[in-house]
């Protein structure tokens, strides 16, 4: 939770386990064959600025800029303008809660979209919401995002 990582080593994969209401933001930069992922747990760092300093990936508002900085440092030029970047979102689940009293997943998704939008970026694919946990694996070679969940067959976006 709250971790972020990027890689440009062919054949590798990035993985995050057991997303509940958390959101995995996957950012791909095909020109440099770089893939990054941040595991966002909460929408806003205002809950704990100290945590945001220690682990910026924990919050949408600090995690996405931190991932973009990491990827810029790996040679993804102008990545903070969204040029040549591909974004996918996974997670943001909820419990069975018709009144959405506990829907922190939806708040995470909305916060992530807003931060992406501030960089002029939007997701091309999403697998969000629902009431089940997800494990996410990003293949660097194909840019495909594999999703697995107990009791279901794997699927890809």
């Amino acid at each position: 939770m709250g971790d972020l990582a990027a890689s440009n080593v062919p054949g590798t994969a990035l993985r995050t386990f057991g997303l509940g209401s958390c959101v995995a933001v996957v950012i791909l930069h095909p020109a440099t064959q770089t893939a990054g992922m941040v595991h966002v747990a909460l929408p806003h760092s205002s809950v704990s600025p100290a945590k945001a300093v220690k682990q910026p990936g924990y919050f949408a508002d600090t995690g996405i800029p931190a991932l973009l900085r990491l990827m810029a440092g790996m040679g993804c030029q102008r990545c903070d303008t969204g040029r040549g970047m591909i974004v996918k979102l996974v997670g943001g689940a909820k419990v069975l809660d018709p009144n959405s009293l506990f829907d922190i997943g939806k708040r995470n998704i909305l916060a992530v979209r807003k931060v992406l939008w501030s960089f002029g970026m939007g997701p091309i694919a999403e697998d969000v919401g629902g009431s089940f946990s997800r494990t996410v694996t990003v293949s660097l070679d194909t840019g495909r995002v594999n999703i697995s969940s107990p009791g279901k067959e794997d699927w890809q976006i």
């Binding site: 939770m1 709250g2 971790d3 386990f17 057991g18 997303l19 509940g20 209401s21 958390c22 747990a41 909460l42 929408p43 806003h44 809950v47 704990s48 945590k51 924990y58 689940a93 909820k94 419990v95 069975l96 809660d97 009144n99 009293l101 506990f102 922190i104 997943g105 708040r107 629902g130 009431s131 089940f132 946990s133 969940s149 107990p150 009791g151 279901k152």
Partner: protein
């Protein structure tokens, strides 16, 4: 709610489950008394050489000792704190149950343990937001024990995961525990309750274990604690720590608002605090953090 379990094999499995030692039973009984202190914990732990040794070993581990030898059980208990001592007692005693793979839920090894520990931590934090307030130690222990029944029910649910998952997602059942009741006539809350009653656990723990998915069915006086555990369970699931296919496929009872003060920001703060405490506790117990 009826107490009988019709399935003789499930009844036999409950009867086969290990008994609780006097020491662990004493620690669990203690949490029902809000006036208890560390001295009471020391008194009970001292009667069990194995647990005493484990606690001393833990207190002298790199995570706690800060280079100074801890040679008395008083100092060791003070250093570790009540939560850690109670969770070590539970883990020592019924650890194999907690740590085994849950085949009937598609839950990996150790998932039940991690889920229960997170639920306990969340319940402890939520205890202060309950109306009337709930004792934090009682809430922690109730959270730790709430899913006891899964360790037994899991075997009887083997091979059903894909089918039940699809049926719950299609809306055929209100949630996963409702599917358990439809298939086996009993859910994991009821099984856990029967096991805990056999162990002679205090009444509030019995209520929390039995009704954590249907808190409105608990006796009114018990509801603050039961709702705290109900919410703590869901907080653990939202944080990505469930026990397999049933994770998140559980209904939130909106009546919680009558018993617990929790808004969206409060929920976010609790998710964060549980994560931090879990990472610290997990590192102390097993020398590892959470991925």
């Amino acid at each position: 709610m009826k107490e009988r379990v019709d399935n003789p094999e499930i009844r036999a499995a409950i009867a086969r489950a290990p008994k609780l030692s006097a020491c662990t039973a004493g620690l669990l009984e203690l949490c029902n008394n809000p006036a208890h202190g560390l001295a009471d914990i020391v008194r009970i732990v001292s009667c069990d050489a194995a647990l005493t040794a484990h606690i001393l070993r833990q207190a002298n581990s790199a995570a706690f000792s800060r280079g100074q030898a801890v040679d008395s059980i008083d100092r060791a208990v003070a250093l570790l704190g009540g939560d850690l001592v109670v969770s070590m007692a539970i883990s020592d005693e019924i650890g194999p149950q907690f740590h085994r793979e849950l085949v009937g839920y598609g839950g990996a090894r150790d998932e039940l343990w991690r889920h229960d520990l997170r639920t306990g931590l969340a319940a402890k934090l939520l205890a202060g937001k309950a109306r009337p307030e709930v004792d934090a130690d009682l809430a922690f222990t109730a959270g730790m024990l709430h899913d006891l029944g899964k360790a037994i029910l899991s075997d009887f649910l083997a091979g059903t995961v894909a089918k039940v998952t699809a049926a719950v997602d299609a809306g055929e059942f209100a949630d996963y525990p409702a599917a358990e009741r439809a298939m086996l006539g009993v859910d994991h809350g009821e099984i856990g309750y029967l096991l805990a009653r056999r162990w002679g656990l205090p009444e509030p723990l019995l209520g929390a274990i039995r009704y954590h998915h249907q808190p409105g069915n608990a006796e009114p006086a018990m509801r603050p604690l039961v709702y705290v555990v109900h919410l703590g369970d869901l907080v653990a699931m939202l944080g990505g720590c469930g026990t397999g296919a049933d994770s998140l496929r559980c209904a939130l009872d909106p009546q919680y608002q009558e018993y617990v003060d929790l808004d969206a920001d409060g929920l976010a703060a609790i998710i964060l605090a549980v994560e931090e405490e879990f990472t610290a506790l997990n590192r102390s117990l097993f020398g590892q953090g959470e991925s």
